[in-house]
Amino acid sequence: MANAVKNLEVQPTKYEAEQSTWDEIAESRAFKDLMATKRTFIVPAFIFFVVYYFALPVLVGYAPQFMSTKVIGEVNLAYLFALSQFFVAWIIAALYVRAANNFDRLAKDILNKAEDAKGGK
């Protein structure tokens, strides 16, 4: 058995299909919905975190006086902004995981349909 498995393992994958099958799935309503749903979350989330992150070195590098403003006791704006980056990253990750449950649900329907079409294999 081990030998049989090894021969298969050199192939990229065990699920093969005709070009037409891939095109069909890619053009299907369900798949387009999945892609649109993903894009609606991922694109704004990505842009937001990149802008929020680069605001830190830009503000600290080019407005050091302003960022040195003390906010709570000795703690200044620069430190609080850097600290906030960690929490913002965690929040975005948590929101993504929640959104991704929805992606999984949509993908599951596409998967089931494709595997049924294969004839239960």
Partner: protein, 535 residues
């Protein structure tokens, strides 16, 4: 108790060798050897990713930068966590869905496998070896510093090299994973303990702690006593180029982490894309908590130990161990030192397995032998041999360079190559229908060459040293640097993308466009994704 560090090192080595023996009996077959049979649980893989990622540079380096430069060191640490959002949002799931063992698997779906895999393998080996050499030289210097009485630099390098070879050759991905998990747990425990002790020193009052940070006393380069507010930005990243360099580093982190081969291979060790996603979240919790705690390690060292004392007792990298010594004595110093050692071993083992997987799977099986094993088990055998070779070469280079070699730039180089060569082609192959083989080869080549070229003419390698600096500590080119930044990302990343786009546009490859739908469906739904193997 002078030999406590030695005993703690030996205990760690004994445990990891035991794990390697256990793993060696479960590493038969390619999927077992390269991907731990894809049966690592989400939380386990998350801890292992953290263990793979947080190098000695994070643990000792960042604590040291904060101890000497205050706030700028803390700001530097932020990007290392935020970078995981790129991994989470863009890379981890498509990679797990469409790939098998390496990032080149994803590229090979729609592009011509041989040229693409050859270039991707070259880029992977470049990133892994450069990063590894930096770690090995650091390891040698560190072990010598911590165990100076017993171990020389050369012996330390050879010891670390042999251990890493043993883990990877005999235990494969399974042993590597568990070494990384144990290391991450030790690192988190040690850091947490140090943080609590620092706060105890300040009577658990943040007011008192930050009060001390705002008045750090030390002697500057001219021997003048100065009192500085260590929360003020700009102590390290000074104009004119400091802020720009930090921006450039940020770009390399945000785009490079998601292109680091030793991180990417970790996502093949879990059963499916959902588990890969959860493991990124676990990793983010650990990595984020760790970098937040560098506040206590770094500022604690600055206020409790003081830059003057650290400078005369081993330098910046000793900040965290010296803090441990000051707070709780020599046994705790030994514990923190052993954690630093475990940290290096876990990272070099991860680098070795990613390099050998790429060499045997991408280059040997798929480029040289057109995707077929000539006899069963050949791919794993080649991987084991190449792990041995990679380890031997890394030991040799680290010994030739010696403990004083200026190697910090190698880490910047590894991230720059990952960000400028690997990431553009992964992203474009997943998202751009028009993308093709010429684009991938061109993007990888331009990204790789631009990163190496810019580092060569950066202040890391080009500077005029005073005659007192000798040997490998001298800069390679004795002239004023042509490129003012130590981090090339700000220029090399756009160049990598431009290379990939121009290469695509000047060539025509209908098959890659036809096959885009297959990759699109596979990477987004997990249809036909590699399944976990049986025990």
């Amino acid at each position: 108790m002078a030999n406590t560090p030695l005993i703690m090192f030996l205990v760690f080595i004994a445990i990891t060798l035991g794990i390697t023996y256990w793993a060696s009996r479960r590493s038969a077959g390619a999927s077992a050897y390269f991907a731990a049979s894809r049966q690592i649980k989400g939380w386990q893989n998350g801890i292992a990713v953290a263990g793979d990622y947080m190098s000695a540079a994070s643990f000792l380096g960042i604590a040291g930068i904060i101890a000497f430069f205050g706030y700028d060191g803390f700001m530097y640490s932020v990007g290392w966590l935020v970078a995981y959002l790129t991994v989470l949002l863009v890379i981890a799931e498509p990679l797990r869905n469409a790939g098998k063992y390496t990032m080149a698997d994803v590229l090979a779906y729609r592009l011509k496998p041989r040229p693409v895999r050859a270039m991707a393998s070259l880029s992977t080996l470049t990133v892994s070896t450069f990063y590894m050499i930096a770690q090995m030289v650091g390891a040698g210097a560190l072990v010598k510093l911590l165990l100076g009485g017993y171990v020389t630099y050369n012996k330390a390098v050879i010891g670390v090299g042999i251990l890493m070879i043993v883990y990877v050759v005999f235990g494969g991905m399974l042993a590597t994973t568990w070494v990384q998990i144990i290391k991450a747990i030790l690192l988190m425990a040690g850091t947490l303990l140090l943080s609590v002790l620092v706060m105890a020193h300040f009577h658990f009052s943040f007011g008192e702690f930050f009060g001390a940070i705002s008045h750090v006393t030390y002697h500057d380069a001219k021997g003048q006593e100065v009192v500085k507010d260590f929360l003020t930005p700009g102590l390290r990243y000074k104009p004119p180029y400091g802020p720009l360099d930090l921006l450039s580093l940020g770009l390399a982190l945000i785009f490079g982490t998601a292109g680091l081969p030793h991180i990417l291979v970790r996502f093949y060790t879990v059963p499916d894309a959902k588990t890969a996603r959860n493991s990124v979240v676990w990793a983010m919790v650990l990595i984020g908590s760790f970098y937040i705690m560098t506040t206590f390690l770094g500022f604690g060292a600055a206020t409790i130990v003081g830059p003057d004392f650290i400078k005369t007792h081993g330098g910046t990298n000793m900040s965290a161990p010296l803090l441990a010594n000051a707070l709780a004595g020599s046994v705790f110093f030994a514990f923190i030192s052993a954690i630093a050692f475990a940290t290096i071993l876990a990272v070099v083992a991860g680098l070795t397995i990613s390099a050998t997987t790429s060499f045997s799977h991408d280059f040997w099986t798929n480029v040289i032998h057109n995707g077929t094993e000539r006899r069963p088990g050949e791919e794993v055998l080649v991987a084991r041999i190449s792990a041995f070779v990679v380890g031997a070469v890394a030991i040799a280079i680290a010994i030739v360079l010696g403990p004083t070699a200026n190697v910090a730039f190698l880490v910047a180089l590894a991230f720059a190559v990952a960000a400028s060569a690997n990431l553009p082609v992964i992203v474009l192959s997943i998202f751009w229908r028009r993308f093709n083989t010429a684009g991938a080869v061109c993007g990888l080549a331009v990204g790789l060459l631009a990163s190496i070229g810019l580092i060569l003419v950066s202040p890391s390698l080009m500077a005029i040293d005073p005659p007192t600096v000798t040997g490998t500590a001298r800069h390679l080119i004795q002239a004023k640097a042509w490129f003012p930044l130590e981090n090339p990302g700000i220029l090399s990343i756009p160049l990598g993308f431009i290379g990939a786009i121009v290469g695509t546009l000047i060539s025509h490859e209908p098959t890659s466009q036809h096959k885009f739908n297959e990759l699109l469906v596979r990477s987004n739904t997990g249809l036909g994704a590699e399944k976990a193997g049986a025990h």
